[in-house]
Symmetry: C2
Subunit: 290 residues, 2 copies
């Protein structure tokens, strides 16, 4: 399988690429809409590289989804995709196998196939939300129905703040970008966007600094849990917060070292913003027999 | 490989068994001593079943160990085993492949090979200490060097009680038998053994009941973390506390349901006290290419 199409459906942007051996030969990026726009973009990318048809298509999406049915479920942030059987639609349009996976799991597939290529690692997206993907012994841990890796929703504070998922005290509710903005509103009187909050913390402004340190401690505790449970050789991070890793990283690593006896190597993704697209393209090579 | 020898080295008792297709054909049990006693017991069990030599031997031990080297490391509770290369010793004595694994990982192997036989599950030993083993997609998650599955040492309370492992607020320090006894000493003025503490909690005595409920809430939180991270189809429990599962189980399950969106089936081990012995015997069939 050398002619792969990756589709990375994000909350705001969708990326489509033609991938061979980890190289993106042609790509198209556009504001996220529905399946018609994805079909057009795939056709365009195929023309650009001169492939009559792809060997397989992999699709990554941030929503709850059913990997076996190939259907995106209740997607509040993806209104055009709600209930769409993307696998069926694209299979009919391009006459090739199509696979659907959670976006953070796809990112782990990307690192496995084309990035750090470790055998035992955990990939963590630290952004507005927090997601993850697990690789053990060179294989992705999908879970019973493809929902594994939800590090953002491990419960850290039984009496902690309400999470978007409906539970309380999840890692995402303590360290995700949306949660930080909300904490700033509660404690500092204004909903500071995460990026600005981190910059103000870096300058030593006490309120933002305290919030950033709490978030890093929670992230470090979460990574320590992952390390004790899975003994990964590496933890790989991606997502918006990693742009400030020089400032946040030492705080996260101090918490990790305090709460874990396992000392995984911690690195940022090798694939940058393309980790999701490359991972979606490699999904057909790693899809499980569910 | 049909002629398997399992060796389950416990803190107080050692069990040795000859196993074929999940049946223990002959067994010997004795107070834990050193490798000489194990050699004698294996020889005795081999005579009993009439095998000239086994196809393979699997050894489970509760200590930190090096699976690749086959060596038991710094074993404070197993003084006769400290630093012993059990794999080398038994290989020389019985001229067959020998494998060494962590006891809780071996228990997971036992459930995989001969127990519930699920494809995605987590095995948890809830006893004096707390250990675990993870199976994903029908394969054991060993971790980078065979130390994965340490659910007892996931950090739940950053400011919680000191754990035997040197860290603070681990699940084992909140819900393990030794920790409960210590909590009883601190809060109730006497070090009540876990079994007695649970019985007194069952009768409604307020102090013990509060401690048992805290332990169950911590265990439920730990299982919720495992469920969100791994999406297992089942969680399987073994160990001394499961003898009181009718009383403790509902409390644990309530906490699990509150903190996890994933709803794994929760069951007790099918193999009873033999889970470690059967798992050690099956270890040669599931040992990883480390």
């Amino acid at each position: 399988m050398e002619r792969l199409i990756g589709v990375d459906i994000g909350g705001t942007r969708t990326r489509v690429g033609a991938v061979t051996a980890g190289r993106i030969l042609a790509r198209k990026e556009f504001p996220t809409r529905g399946v018609a726009e994805v079909r057009l973009a795939i056709a365009e990318v195929l023309r650009a590289v001169g492939w009559e048809r792809p060997d397989a298509i992999g699709v990554g999406a941030p929503a709850p989804l059913d990997m076996r049915q190939g259907r995106i479920l209740q997607a509040p942030n993806l209104p055009h995709w709600n209930g769409v059987n993307v696998v069926e639609e694209l299979r009919r349009a391009f006459s090739c196998p199509v696979y659907l996976g959670n976006d953070a799991n796809c990112a782990a597939v990307g690192e496995l196939a084309y990035g750090w290529q470790a055998k035992d690692f955990v990939y963590v997206t630290w952004s507005t939300g927090i997601g993850g993907g697990i690789v053990a012994g060179g294989r992705v841990v999908w879970g019973a129905t493809g929902q594994a890796g939800e590090i953002g929703h491990i419960p850290l504070r039984p009496d902690g703040p309400r999470c978007n998922c409906g539970k309380q005290g999840c890692l995402e509710a303590l360290a995700g970008g949306a949660a930080l903005r909300e904490r700033a509103r509660e404690r500092l009187g204004q909903p500071i966007p995460a990026k600005e909050l981190v910059e103000r913390a870096r300058k030593g402004e006490p309120g933002p600094l305290a919030l950033a340190e709490e978030a890093c401690a929670a992230m470090g505790q979460g990574l320590a849990i992952v390390a004790e449970l899975l003994e990964p050789e590496m933890i790989i991070l991606g997502g918006g917060f990693t742009a400030s890793w020089d400032f946040l990283g030492p705080k996260v690593l101090a918490a990790l070292a305090r709460w874990s006896r396992v000392r995984p190597r911690v690195e940022l993704t090798k694939l940058g913003d393309d980790v999701g697209l490359l991972g979606a393209a490699a999904l057909p090579l790693h899809f499980p027999a569910l």
